[in-house]
Symmetry: D3
Subunit: 313 residues, 6 copies
């Protein structure tokens, strides 16, 4: 299956293993690249347009003209999906990832025939391995640990602009895993407020309602937004607020959200149980509602992927 996938690279389709950014590309040189990640449910892309629009906010902010309108970007995305669809004929859901940079620096234009131009990549990647690894986590919950590394605040590098100058995510992961090899890093900013995971948003459940950090030093996740809407439709009170470690220590439940895995219970925090130390009723209700919304049994899917991954292992 792997060998067939093909990646859109600035208007052409190339083999997945060959798709990349030149050493002269501003993307590599400065982490100067905007990206997006969405996924399919039953093969249908989830809120594709919302992701593309957020992509263009980032591009405008960085003054990158990628050469495509948002409509053209959507068309290119759909074409990439269709080209790769045969690879997912068995019904495996997949990620769709965009990377856009202003391209190689002008200084190096002689390297490239036809000169330098922006780089746009779009690729599809099966969720098999990603979700396989999380199958049991959905029912047991994951461990959140606050690392010594702090979030870079929006006033310095805005995480709402989904960019790749984020080495501190890797440092956070390394630190959290020294405390607990299974930990997920949960970051705080220099004010001591919770921000986000390294590629996910975070919620706590308190007195039956949802609390999530103010949308400041975080990516305003599409799935975060979808969960807020879902919760509202279930009649749950939702509030954006400055949250602190104390709020997790006194929470009833907690969970991470991200487009690939959607909702992931967090049952341990800095070595302490969150609430009863297992996925709580509100989290489970939201997970169930999500399943119904996307018409996928997320846990069953992840377990199926785990079996596939083990079989291939």
């Amino acid at each position: 299956m792997t060998s067939q996938r093909t990646v859109y690279v600035s208007g052409e389709f190339v083999a997945e293993s060959e798709a990349g950014f030149s050493i002269f590309d501003s993307a590599l040189m400065y982490g100067d690249v905007i990206f997006e990640t969405t996924r399919t449910f039953n093969g249908q892309p989830f809120r594709l347009r919302a992701h593309i629009e957020r992509l263009y906010v980032g591009l405008r902010t960085l003054e990158i003209d990628c050469g495509l309108t948002a409509d053209e970007m959507e068309a290119a995305t759909l074409e990439t999906i269709e080209r790769n669809r045969p690879c997912f004929a068995d019904g495996t859901d997949f990620q769709i990832v965009h990377n856009v940079s202003r391209g190689p620096m002008g200084l190096y234009e002689t390297v490239f025939e036809g000169g330098v131009k922006p780089t746009v990549t779009i690729n599809c990647w099966p969720l098999t391995w990603h979700l396989a690894a999380l199958a049991e986590a959905y029912v047991e919950g994951v461990h959140a640990v606050i690392p010594a590394q702090r979030s870079v605040p929006a006033r310095l590098i805005d995480p709402k602009i989904k960019n790749r100058s984020r080495i501190y995510y890797q440092i956070s992961n390394l630190q959290a895993q020294k405390v607990d090899p299974e930990a997920w890093a949960l970051l705080t900013d220099e004010d001591g407020f919770l921000t986000e995971g390294t590629g996910s948003n975070f919620f706590v459940v308190k007195d039956g309602g949802l609390l999530t950090p103010e949308p400041r030093n975080i990516l305003r996740g599409v799935t975060r937004q979808a969960v807020l809407e879902l919760a509202e439709s279930l009649g749950l009170a939702c509030r954006e607020r400055n949250l602190e470690p104390y709020d997790v220590m006194t929470a009833d439940e907690a969970f991470f959200t991200s487009t690939p895995f959607t909702i992931m219970p967090a049952t341990r925090f800095n070595g302490h149980d969150v609430g009863a130390g297992e996925p709580g009723p509100v989290t489970r209700r939201l997970m169930k509602a999500w399943d119904m919304m996307v018409e996928v049994d997320m846990v069953a899917q992840a377990r199926a992927y785990a079996r596939q991954a083990a079989a291939r292992g």
Copy 2:
């Protein structure tokens, strides 16, 4: 000349236009890459070992085991230089650039035959275009402008670790050039202290001595160190100190340093003349001493490159 150059990529040599990082590489995904840039003078690499040792401090800090010892890295560098030496047979000096990442994320290992491993690139790039653009700047000086963007402080992402999560350099350049199209961004930190240019260090001359920012929120540049040593050998007082815009407003002279261009006078600051508004006697004395040290007449070289660039243009 361009087509012949070849880049070391994780043990193999590939064409310059093909050398890059996979879209699955941590380098791209997180700006999680350590790099170095040195150059030759008369074809001899400048303080190559010092650059390689700084590279390894970064790798240790990020817990990247690149698979090569520092000695092996030096050998690979020298081999890359020798392979490319014919391209520089006309005596053109060149940059030598290292990029090292932990490689593609483990999740994507099936993409890559033989699995994932760290990525190491080493390439040589003629200084022709870089210095051509600066030829007249050596004698007229450049304009420094402080952008609204502030330096990310070392406690969040340490600039002493020469990494590529530095989108804020690009933002700084964009901002400075809106004020003055020829401006070089000169950054400050959130305390209001001068830090560095976007790829260079900064000095002011006051009462015959050199002042340069404390080595905190800056890269501790190899050329910065070389200039301090050179100045000391000339009997100039040198001091690392917290410097502010006021110190540039009241300076006699100022200059940037960086390995590619070495010493570049800054004659304007935020729209005001620095000192008399032209390269000052101390700066010129240092430039001359540098020329003698490396046995290259830097201005003459840059002007020769400018002629070549124009001829090819």
Copy 3:
């Protein structure tokens, strides 16, 4: 018309060109002066009492006893207006400005017959030139640019106390105009949150509702308050929130407010269009409602003033 205006200065009326503060006055020496600015609509002062009450909050905070009660201040204001009313016989609306300081420092009392006492000035100034310059801006919108200068936070000098130690407004204007000669500076605080213009408040429109910065590092403008009330009466959702540049980049509309010009659309932000790049429907609806409230067609008035100014030019 100009020569007739007269200014209340500590109980006496003096010619406009002579009204000022002694070089020995604490107002000048320390920027130690509280002021207010309101205006008339059809010759009627707008929320005069609210302005006077805010003036007294500032005076109490700075422990200035100006020698007048709020009622006496209001009476003196009305007297000043009546004395100047003949100057505005043509129906020109005008500003009413108060300045109050603790007066010359005690050290200098021998300079002043009768010793030192607080200084109170009240003057009326036709809005002709101010609004003339803005006539077309009402229909095209103004450009907002964030300068490198940050707002001084309330914990150091409280902008809610309307004082004149605000040299950073002038610096902000100088910086913004270097980027775009027509720009209005829009400040942020050191947390990266939007604060205010240099003499105005700022709103964004998002999803049909109004958002405006939390009332912390800003003057809590009387017109800001009036706009919130007006919006509420129109059924628009209004919220005070921490706002960031990203919120303007993703806003549908934006505008400044201030008592002299009331509501001014902002159609560009840091070089990007805000929404569609023209005054939006919510802004226009508010402007219209304002016109009805004060019974003045603001655009028509400004255009009339522009013609007058041109005629006098």
Copy 4:
């Protein structure tokens, strides 16, 4: 004597009680004015040129073109002194104060015949009352108290630019005097470091050497510089360092410096004795050396002024 003094105001000489800034002047509107204060010793101005040069650094920074070169400013200053010299025929020393603003805002140009132009004032003021009040303080020392108000940091409003947006000096004085009616406010910045008095610099003496705050969030006083030079000539070690309240608690001696009073011992700090609670040997030695340098017995002069002031009282 008072009635004869005359003030230079933008090229003309006017009576002292009439000299001021228009209510339309940027000086008043924004605290947008640069000033200087020097004094005479035996009728000779002290380091006049150094003060004037600092004035021009401020003007350049604020982009005020006052219409005079530094030489012309010096000439105007000397003329002002000579015009006023008869007032000081009895040998009384006096202050010389400059205020320079960009003048009335352009909006108000119709108020002023001939339009708007920068405002420059130069005035001479006898030191009689100022020093009279300090006569006994020279021998007993003053009380330093740290107020709740913090210094505005240089990155927001630079105190090295001697400007008049400094309402926080007045607030500091009010706060300090509530704790101790005789207190001099001694400010700290938000890092907790000592900065300066409200119009003076601060030194501590420790182990026979002088320590004074780093030249960051302070005015770099001309007398501060003179004291450092004097101390060096006496063989005393001098160091600029971050100083904290703890350093005053453990100091042997402390003193303030400012051009009008030069060196003033501080013998109490936040209610505690500094050292032995009286002017210490190093402070007294510096005061004596100063007297010799300027050929004035400062204490005797202050006492003489105190007698004069009492006589006139």
Copy 5:
């Protein structure tokens, strides 16, 4: 009465004057102790369970296993109350105070027979003296003064964890009392926001509603929560918000809350009247509602205690 009281100390009951913590206890060595204070009304403990649960949040956060479950702690508390009840046979209400530490450091275990173990104390203390001192304050109000000392922020030492590393409370009290001997310190954090008193929470009343600081750099007081619930039951709008000194300057009323005294009007702030300078109608209404809720006339009780205290004097 005094001699009879007995204190629970780690499972035993000892005389009040003997109850304490060893010099080797972590409680003393590091301020490493969690505590709680509640009181009785008519002899009934107020929200005892809520206090005990908050105690255990603190213990979990500090990883102190005190050897008792929350139920056992409650039982021990009730036993302590019953043992001491005879001392309060006259109906005097009393405080119940818990202190829990991890006990003496392991290094010192040989000092203690049976080795080291956590220290738990529970004691009952008559409210006579505490409330006697406040009897007239209930009707006249207290004076709030902001000291120079700032609150330690939650990210450094979390005040929501009710711990005893709070020397800054004592420093705050000393500073406030220098300004006004009757002052109650009202702290701000380094952002300039109001936090709390030194052992109490703070509210302002504005336009008929209650405002109180966001629950960040404060103890989330049990009585604070009870007042919010009471206010809601009275139909008063309540909001947690960042509050600044300006908000007190412009408030209609203000009050402190704490379990021992419940609601205490604050009628002066930094030397200015709050509102009319006397307990306001909303505060008085809340006080009355409180009295009804707990079935104690608080003012009458305090006055009775004042008479008793005077009698014993």
Copy 6:
């Protein structure tokens, strides 16, 4: 041996296991206590007077009048030592610890016969167990780990005042030991600068010289000072400087200092070797010089204590 030791408590001598602070003491209630720790070498107290003088700086700052002059405190200390000397007849060296508080709060005076008064304790404690645990650490070095907890800055609670409101030391230890059970916490402040261990100072060796943090957010340790003097006497360059984790990553050697253990090599930092990963030549040279200065072979002593401890174990 244990049972014989006796502790000075406010003028009386009590059994070690009974010495403590009342639950009503400000020491316990607010961490409001100043302390000192020194030790003997060959039975002689080390710089006792320096410790006592630092104690009194703290007491003055907190406005605690302990009722004893420094001379009386020294006399009481010597008396305590002499009373306990028989317990150390075998030549065991011991700590001498002072704790001083303002005593029980006035509110509780009826608890205490004779009323409330300051609490002063002085005790002697054998170094057997403390040093036994460190015997091998002297030759292998300890592991330094930076916890997520940051140092409380001096502007909030001054660590130069040796007080016991330092729960964050315990939190730091807990965090460091989760990463590495043998780790010593090495703190940083919120600027990212190294401060101190939890009861020790820190040095790095670079290019043959010593670097140690600026004396700001640290206790200015008596042994730190002694090491600086010793290093100077050996001709080593010593400099106080802002140090960052990068400086440890690039250091040749590192060590902690504290009065009980004096000099302790740190050979690992955040999981990386410091220099060669073993005590380096400069550190060993300093340790040897220390041994000679105090005439104790520290390693031999610690090993002897380890044998004694094991024998008693």
